[in-house]
Subunit: 310 residues, 2 copies
Amino acid sequence: MSAAPAFVAVDWGTSAFRLWLMSADGAVIAERRSNEGLAAASAAGFASVLESHLAPLPGSDGLPVVICGMAGSRQGWIEAGYVEVPAELTSIASGGVRVPGTERNVTILPGMCVKSAREPDVMRGEETQLLGAMLESSGAERFCMPGTHSKWVQMRDGKVTGFQTYMTGELFSVICSASILKHSIPDGGSVDANEPEFLTGVRDGWLTPARFTHELFSIRAGQLLHDRLPTDNRARLSGLLVGVEFAGAGVGDDESVALVASGRMEQLYHAALVACGARVQTIDADTAVQRGLRQAWRILATETGGRLSA
Amino acid sequence: MSAAPAFVAVDWGTSAFRLWLMSADGAVIAERRSNEGLAAASAAGFASVLESHLAPLPGSDGLPVVICGMAGSRQGWIEAGYVEVPAELTSIASGGVRVPGTERNVTILPGMCVKSAREPDVMRGEETQLLGAMLESSGAERFCMPGTHSKWVQMRDGKVTGFQTYMTGELFSVICSASILKHSIPDGGSVDANEPEFLTGVRDGWLTPARFTHELFSIRAGQLLHDRLPTDNRARLSGLLVGVEFAGAGVGDDESVALVASGRMEQLYHAALVACGARVQTIDADTAVQRGLRQAWRILATETGGRLSA
């Protein structure tokens, strides 16, 4: 017997759209992925993009939809604001915003923010992933969520007490494509966790982060003076950036970190964290966002007396 | 009585060409500037670009030419290599390479390099500026030469003992134009040394360089949460990068720094260095490169028994 569809979970980001038709107990019945992120959906209309993905899915008629990610930003479908930390992580569910004028119940979850004047910060999408990750982790207090804008989150007893974003992935991308290092780094391809230059870069960035902007130029000089390989240069750049992120996050020996990541990103950060002496518990990022959306749906269904359940 | 032209000094960089017709005692008789940097000159031919600028200058016939900068790189007119540090700064003159096949005597000065496997580095053009700056400074041991690729040079008794390049200016440029911060920073315009956000950024970058990639994202978050002004964001970004450079260079209180810079760059770095407690002696960058080229010409003329003097 196959599970009955109960709700629709959507992770709607800047450049990607992912939808799962899910059972009440969190089984994935069907999946849809496309590149209809924020820009594409703004042009086509968010409702029509969503319905175009639901139309071919049997049993999705009238089901409630819970969305996280950039669809809730000011430039998104409807602005879903931010929950200010410190806050219970589950409060993102009750802070969900119902999209007006849609036939089915569509709720967009808010992001989270640090309002401090000194170091303001925002996340949108990761808070939902974190809600799922929290269910998977055994009381972890530090979460690392690597990516274009890596997040480090501090939690205690279900409450987010603070977080910081590091522009690691984006800096890697713009330095590779737009700086003088583009002459020293291959087009395309990606860094492998086993490359020695990656882990050397991690340690150098972690131990002497102040020298980061010098180390960047030194990659260029190393190519001119020592004919270093472009793939080694790329691995070192990636490692340096991850190491500087670790220095900023205060990664220290024998610390426990819950790593929310998948695929190659998981491999890179896992190897890097271990190299810096951390104990790592991995939580699959894709699973985490599904679990987080399901948890939000359950809370919303309870709060609305079950009306969210189809 | 006007001074007689004795030689031609050229600073030939990646994107700019600057030429001075000079007297033996270093007076500038005429100046030419254009955007015929490396790329343009490679296409048009270095010799013809040079002669096109000399043709209209009375008294330049047959004069020797001394060139510094990227014209001596592998992609330049003729490769002039690097003098490896530690080295006497004046050795860049004796390491000059005579361009073959030209009617007049054209010498391109080499760059300098740090060959260390750990932190290789190169400069090309700044060594000549430094040769001039050394003549202006009263025994300074630390030189700061800000720019796209800022150089920090350690000297002792006329010898360059080490140097480090920081990608400060280039990172500012690529982060402004190619990262998410482009939405938070105005197109065009420039940072003013009097903007409070600049000096706050300097101090934050200097005191906590490890948090640099987080501070970057925080600029974006500050705009979303606190409607911070684009001009303030730009000033803070610039300050953070300069501060991280200072942290890497180990700028500390009450240190003496010879700042080789002109115009707005001089104002920014002067204010930033003073804010970090350094004592600053400014040496005009344009004057420094002219003096350095003149000094190289004098050494070359002596070594060649005066044949370099027209």
